[in-house]
């Protein structure tokens, strides 16, 4: 059974003039199934892409797997011993501090106060050493060859001075109660969340007096274009003159239009500006000459930068510039003055650690680094702060209360903005600053914070392929169980995180629901095949009987019509898949059309991203290429069984 039946099935499906109705029904069936396949593929691919994007966004900041201490850990002697030990400054330690601590057991029976009776007894190894669950877990994770790092969450009041010269927000102060998440330099995905510094950031850093050294900024950016509103006289070409205007009352200032046709306010005197060596002057060709006027451009003049000579002060920096004014090429070495950078490339990715690190967050071989160019601690803000006028280089303080023996003291840590990140979907994302670990530890030592979204304030993040995290979880769980450390830790994947659980459950429900609908639509579409094949069987009754007379088995006859269904299913799958690939490749056009039709954005960027994902989902493809031919085959079975039951003696006699 095989080739022969397949050949006959192909022959039967080729449309013939004689059987026009069969050909039409068969064409209709293929079109309907192809449409369903197209719809299923496009929808499943886009939703799978959206889910993947969300997963990446969620797990980039918060690792897809997390180990958090259990009640057992917090009640253990190991954790509580620091509170009564002089070695530990009588303060409880975070997981990171525990991992770095030289003493597993800081308690000294001679110098420290007596351990309360109600404390659990210390867990010890057979050689008497205190069991160190943190260090042992870190060693175990290292053996498992996964990326991991401890994290801490605290809270503080952020007060930030906004320096960006904007008319409404100049010298404003921003005050906001914020959560602080420790910066995890081991996070391999964090780099994808960093928002590159903008030109506004660069101009703010350059214009800010408090900004870190010019050297670190200019060593890590290439300025290729600036805009100036005052013209260095040395830029006026010799032996030529430019049209310029002076006000009768303000004779020491000349205004120069960028274009000869540019209109000038009434009452200004038109003349020409010329230079002869170090002397420049304005004249109206009658008798009025103004020597060395200051020159302002009517609108900002764009100059391309070819060379830059560093100096201690920004205003002393020398730039080799070129440009065009009034169709005249200009070129000279000028001082920075009040230039504004309009085009520059700021380096954020490095192959090796830069000799002079930039004052913004940067990436060396995929790992992110916070700048350490000044004595002030750098930190990152969610990208929404940009809209409030915050720029890289802005400085401020993190304020928190420290409870002493007799009073509550206000503590401050000086901080500087080093960049912005995309918090994705994270309930406290809009208010979560990423700060160096030293800050979270300092605050943690004074007060315990509870995060509002259920994220434990201290734990270990473990990174890896999010889709394989269930396996990694089992692997870690088994290792912890084997070493007796499981009671200290709670292991949770992104599917269990409070802030993402419901979203992913919803994604899963949506997908299951659509899959069920897709199967239903496919079944309905494949039912067309039943009608087609019933027609075909009626049409070919005599031929079936002839084949039976020549020795075709019932199974062979059934197989011919089963193959007919299968071929139609496979053909429709191929056509539908090709259409889906074309659609996905031109998804922006489809979305644009839908948006025009609706009069507003068809898919909100906040949820779906800037553009819809257009990768063909392999899972959807697998589903289509299994489900469609299978359903078509099943649909073909009913007419096939009917065909196999034809009695040749009756069919032949009727002829």
């Amino acid at each position: 059974m095989g080739i022969f039946e397949l050949t006959i099935a192909f022959r039967y499906l080729v449309p013939r003039k004689k059987s026009l109705s069969t050909a039409l029904v068969s064409l209709l069936s293929v079109v309907v199934i192809s449409l369903v396949v197209w719809l299923v593929l496009v929808f499943l691919s886009v939703t799978a892409g959206i889910e993947k994007n969300w997963l990446q966004k969620l797990t980039a900041l918060h690792a897809p797997l997390r180990l958090t201490p259990t009640e057992y850990y917090y009640n253990s002697y190991y954790y509580r011993a620091d509170a009564v030990s002089a070695t530990s400054d009588y303060s409880l330690k975070t997981i990171g501090e525990k991992a770095e601590s030289r003493h597993s057991d800081p308690y000294s029976a001679e110098s420290d106060a007596e351990i309360p009776m109600n404390w659990p007894s210390p867990e010890r190894h057979s050689d008497g050493r205190l069991r160190d669950p943190v260090k042992e877990t870190f060693a175990l994770l290292k053996d498992l060859n996964v990326d991991y790092q401890d994290y801490e969450i605290s809270a503080a009041l952020l007060r930030l001075n906004l320096n960006y010269p904007s008319p409404s927000q100049n010298n404003a102060t921003l005050s906001q109660m914020s959560y602080l998440l420790s910066f995890m330099d081991q996070n391999p995905r964090f780099a994808s969340l960093i928002v590159p510094p903008s030109i506004e950031d660069l101009n703010a850093m350059l214009s800010s007096n408090e900004s870190t050294s010019l050297e670190s900024i200019l060593a890590n950016c290439v300025i290729s274009e600036i805009r100036v509103s005052s013209l260095d006289p040395m830029l006026i070409p010799e032996k030529t003159s430019l049209i310029a205007f002076v006000h009768p009352q303000k004779s020491n200032e000349a205004i120069i239009p960028l274009d000869r046709q540019e209109s000038i306010p009434d009452g200004w005197l038109k003349g020409r500006l010329a230079r002869n060596g170090a002397r420049w002057f304005w004249t109206n060709n009658q008798d009025k000459i103004i020597e060395k006027p200051s020159i302002r451009t009517l609108s900002p003049l764009t100059l391309s930068v070819h060379d830059l000579t560093l100096a201690r002060q920004l205003s002393d920096i020398q730039l080799s510039v070129r440009g065009t004014i009034q169709q005249t090429a200009i070129q000279h070495k000028i001082k920075w003055g009040n230039a504004i950078v309009s085009v520059a490339e700021m380096k954020i990715k490095f192959d090796q650690f830069p000799r002079i690190a930039p004052p913004w967050v940067f990436e060396v071989n995929g790992r992110s680094h916070l700048p350490q160019t000044s004595a002030i601690q750098s930190f990152l803000l969610p990208k929404s702060y940009r809209d409030m006028g915050v720029r890289i280089g802005d400085r401020g303080t993190l304020n928190f209360a420290s409870a002493g023996a007799a009073s509550v003291q206000d503590q401050r840590i000086q901080v500087e903005v080093a960049g912005f990140y995309d918090p994705g979907l994270f309930s406290m994302g809009g208010r979560c600053l990423i700060v160096p670990k030293t800050i979270t530890r300092t605050i943690h030592a004074t007060s315990q914070i509870f995060s509002p979204d259920g994220t434990p304030t201290n734990g270990i993040s473990i990174w890896g392929d999010a889709e394989k995290m269930d396996n990694t979880k089992v692997q870690i769980e088994n290792s912890l169980r084997k070493t007796g450390l499981l009671s200290y830790w709670k292991i949770s994947t992104y599917k269990d995180f409070e802030f993402s659980k419901e979203l992913f459950q919803q994604f899963r429900s949506d997908r299951t629901l659509f899959l069920m609908i897709a199967i239903l639509i496919l079944i309905v579409a494949c039912c067309n095949i039943i009608s087609l094949l019933v027609l075909l069987v009626n049409d070919k009754k005599r031929e079936i009987a002839i084949l039976q007379a020549m020795g075709a088995s019932q199974f062979s006859i059934a197989a011919i019509f089963g193959f007919c269904g299968l071929i139609m299913g496979a053909l429709s799958s191929i056509i539908g898949t090709a259409a889906a690939i074309i659609t996905l490749n031109h998804l922006d056009i489809v979305v644009g059309f839908l948006s025009t039709l609706q009069g507003h954005a068809a898919f909100q960027p906040a949820f779906f991203g800037q553009s819809l994902p257009n990768q063909l989902s392999s899972e959807a493809l697998l589903f289509v290429f299994i489900a469609t031919p299978l359903l078509s085959l099943l649909a073909g079975l009913i007419p096939a069984l009917r065909a196999s039951r034809i009695r040749p003696s009756i069919a032949l006699r009727h002829e």
């Binding site: 022969f4 031929e543 007379a549 020549m550 020795g551 075709a552 040749p648 003696s649 002829e655």
Partner: protein, 221 residues
């Protein structure tokens, strides 16, 4: 050697009343022997031929072909290997070529049918015998009645069966063609030493067979 042995075959139809077509038919056929079954229309000649050709099951009685008792399971295999059919209305596959039609039984028997295969060469030889080798690639639907029946004879000989069942082979042909087809059929059967059961009205054709039977009132005489 006995090729076919039918014992006490009975068959009735319900239309709507029960109507016994075959009452008690017993028949034996030896290798190389040819028999003709004559009778008036509606006497059950074709029914008997279909039963003997395993296309239809009898209500009662047994049938053995080539010493194999026929049952539901092996009927198609027996048709494939032991029997060649020739029908009154030719029953060719219209959208297939002459050669495809002739090779169809070999394909159903899963024999290789490429150009150098024995089945292909046998088909060409059979087409030469029926004088249609030059029309091997013509579609069956473009042939005349006489040509169609010649293709049917070549097809019936394809798998080299030992039994040929012919149902009024000349019934749909004009007098001249009928004579030619009859001669050709008898020639092929004798030349290849096949056994033949021929159902016909044509007494001339029937007279060419070794034995003649008359089917009347459901009984062979």
């Amino acid at each position: 050697m006995t090729i076919l042995e039918a014992k006490h075959i009975k068959k009735s139809f319900y239309d709507p009343k029960r109507m016994e077509v075959l009452s008690d038919i017993s028949l034996t056929l030896s290798a190389g022997e040819s028999i003709a079954i004559c009778g008036r229309s509606g006497e059950g000649k074709t029914t008997l031929l279909h039963i003997l050709g395993t296309l239809e099951a009898p209500d009662f009685g047994t049938l053995a072909i080539g010493n194999h008792p026929v049952n539901f399971r092996n009927a198609h295999r027996i048709r494939q290997q032991c029997i060649g059919f020739i029908f009154q209305s030719f029953n060719l596959l219209e959208d297939f070529s002459v050669l495809d039609n002739v090779l169809m039984p070999a394909r159903l028997a899963r024999q290789p049918t490429d150009k150098n295969s024995p089945a292909h060469q046998n088909a060409i030889a059979n087409l030469l015998e029926v004088d249609l080798a030059d029309r091997a690639h013509t579609l069956a639907k473009f042939l005349s009645g006489g040509e169609r029946q010649r293709v049917a004879i070549a097809r019936a000989l394809c798998n080299d069966p030992f039994l040929i069942l012919a149902d009024e082979p000349s019934g749909n042909l004009d007098h001249a063609n009928a004579g030619r087809i009859g001669q050709l059929l008898m020639h092929c059967v004798k030349a290849k030493n096949k056994s033949l059961i021929l159902v016909t009205h044509d007494h001339n054709l029937a007279s060419l067979c070794d034995r003649q039977y008359l089917l009347k009132d459901g009984v062979l005489s």
